[in-house]
């Protein structure tokens, strides 16, 4: 499948997850997206899957403590300043699960976009807003680039006999990673300008045509959104 219809299909699934009203519908969409993400190589998908599942879990766990909805109390806790009475109701759990699944589904759709799509061909095939699409493709590359830089940092430290372990050890890498990515961004911007980026009159490589599968993906995407609005 070409990257443009694939990106539209993923966007449609994410939209359907946001539009759907039932937990089971959102869970089904998240499951489909999870299966899609599992097609990516194990080493690359780990970070994305952990991020998507952890953020969904965080929403599920935190929602009951920051909202006061429902009357079927499951657990009553102390009163905390600002937050008020810490209690957990069945309704809060239901909303937490629903919003957590929604977030997971959207994050998994992004993960599938980042892991499985050929961003070069996506930039090539989109006939409008080339600058925005290129910026999006570069931003998407930030995650694997940061991942590679982090691996390089860990390896450089291990090369000195310094082991990086635990959340605290990894957190210490954040500042150098950020500084490194800023340096890299500046160098890249300079290289792009020297190769004529932003000059008027740019052309494009011939775009590959859309096949039957690409058109089918577009229809499935539209149907998914419609079903999300009407029935899910």
């Amino acid at each position: 499948m070409s990257p443009a219809p694939a990106a539209l299909l993923l966007a449609a699934l994410a939209a359907a997850a946001l539009l759907a009203d039932r937990i089971v519908s959102v869970a089904a969409i998240a499951l489909v997206l999870l299966l899609v993400c599992l097609r990516a190589p194990a080493g690359r998908r780990r970070l994305y899957l952990v991020g998507a599942l952890f953020s969904g879990l965080a929403v599920f766990v935190l929602t009951p403590f920051v909202s006061s909805i429902g009357w079927h109390v499951i657990w009553s806790g102390p009163t905390v300043p600002v937050l008020g009475q810490l209690d957990v109701t069945r309704e809060e759990l239901r909303i937490g699960l629903f919003q957590g699944l929604r977030l997971t589904a959207v994050a998994l759709a992004f993960a599938a976009y980042a892991l499985l799509l050929d961003h070069d061909r996506l930039v090539q095939s989109v006939g409008f807003a080339r600058r925005s699409v290129l910026a999006m493709a570069l931003a998407t590359r930030l995650v694997p680039t940061l991942e590679r830089d982090a691996a390089g940092l860990v390896e450089a430290l291990r090369g000195r006999g310094v082991e990086v372990s635990g959340a605290r050890g990894r957190a210490r890498l954040l500042a150098p990673l950020l500084a490194g990515s800023l340096e890299r961004a500046l160098n890249l911007a300079e290289a792009m300008e020297s190769r004529g980026y932003g000059r008027p009159g740019a052309t494009r490589m011939p775009r590959p045509g859309w096949g039957l599968l690409d058109r089918a993906a577009l229809v499935v995407g539209a149907v998914a959104v419609a079903i999300g609005v009407l029935w899910l």
Binding site: Q124, E155, R195, T203
Partner: protein, 437 residues
Amino acid sequence: MALATVRQLAFTYPGEHEALRGVSLELEPGEVVALLGPSGGGKSTLLRALAGLVPHFHGGRFSGSVEVAGLDTRRVHPAELAGTVATLFQDPEDQVVFTRVSNEVAFGLENLGTPPPEILPRAARALAAVGADHLAERPVAELSGGELQRVCLASVLALEPRLLLLDEPTSQLDPEGAATAIELARESGAAVVVSEQRPERVLEACDRVLFVADGRIQEGDPPDAWLPREAVLPAAEPSGPAVCRLEDVSFAYHATPVVQRASLRVGRGEIVALVGPNGSGKTTLAKLATGLLEPQSGSVAREGRACYLSQDPGRYLVKERADEEVALAVGGDLVRAGAALAEVGLAGFEDRHPRDLSSGERERLALAAVLVAEPDLLVLDEPTRGVDPPRKDELAALLRDQSPGRATLVVTNDLVFASEVADRVVSTAPERERALA
């Protein structure tokens, strides 16, 4: 008529000292000019001025004038100069825009408004010219440093510029790749200005040499340290008790075998240079020797502590003070860190932020960060990348001074450095090294 004219150029980066002062020169169409000189002496800034990136991209104080093909670089933006001028930057990893090789090479052609049917054939021709046509559909993230440098060279050659600016274009290339790159630049018909730290690669191919130091073009011949040297690879027998022994090791990344049934021994007191073509598994072998990778078959035996200095180590610094960075490997011992900094010529830099240092200083800081641990096995991966000849001599002297106490493995494409520092040379392609010798 000159293709480019620089008149009394002076430039200061924002908040820094003067990088160029009173530089004047003319470049004729088709001539090849080699820029030699110490790191931080102004070579890269001069190249950026010729591309219009100084002052447009960097800001700073600019006086004098630079004209390229009749265009005043103060009035014309770098993107508009693109095509007339093409620049290959020092670090190939920081200039890649796309994820696939063919798209990367096509990017500049698209920006210049090349008719669409011509874009892919021109990109393919440029890749074929640098011997990288087989990489066209590969993701750039999977390329070795040398392969990536070839792709970046193809990206600028595809533009068919009138002025080609090459900032250390061969720093990661093996000797054949480096010779090919310089020859291709010469054959392109463009005027070429090439900044190099390995003079033997460019002096034969260039029409004249400019020595840039302290922001000025120095008159007369370059100092002796910059004259080409002959690489006479030492062929001693292995010596000293083995600190590291690899027997029949194999390693593959995903399904791609990189090292197959390789053996290597490094003894205490000897310096071994590991040479070989780009992509032949030198770095992987070095990581296997240090324990950063585990072999998928075969065995590795090591004694004592092993330290590994990666390629481009200046990128991988984590602390906010130079002495703390070095002290990481010795449990925060700042006294030992200070001594190690002094050993690499960075005394007085203890409280400086590593990212405020020049690239050459960062590399030395990273070297101090491994030397401080006094390892039994020291592995250095391309330690002369971007290092000027006098600094290479200093590095070779330092490694030789300390070699009796440890086993040292140096991975390098710099055969001159290998011949000067090593007791013996091991190649991942022995036939090739015999031919080169």
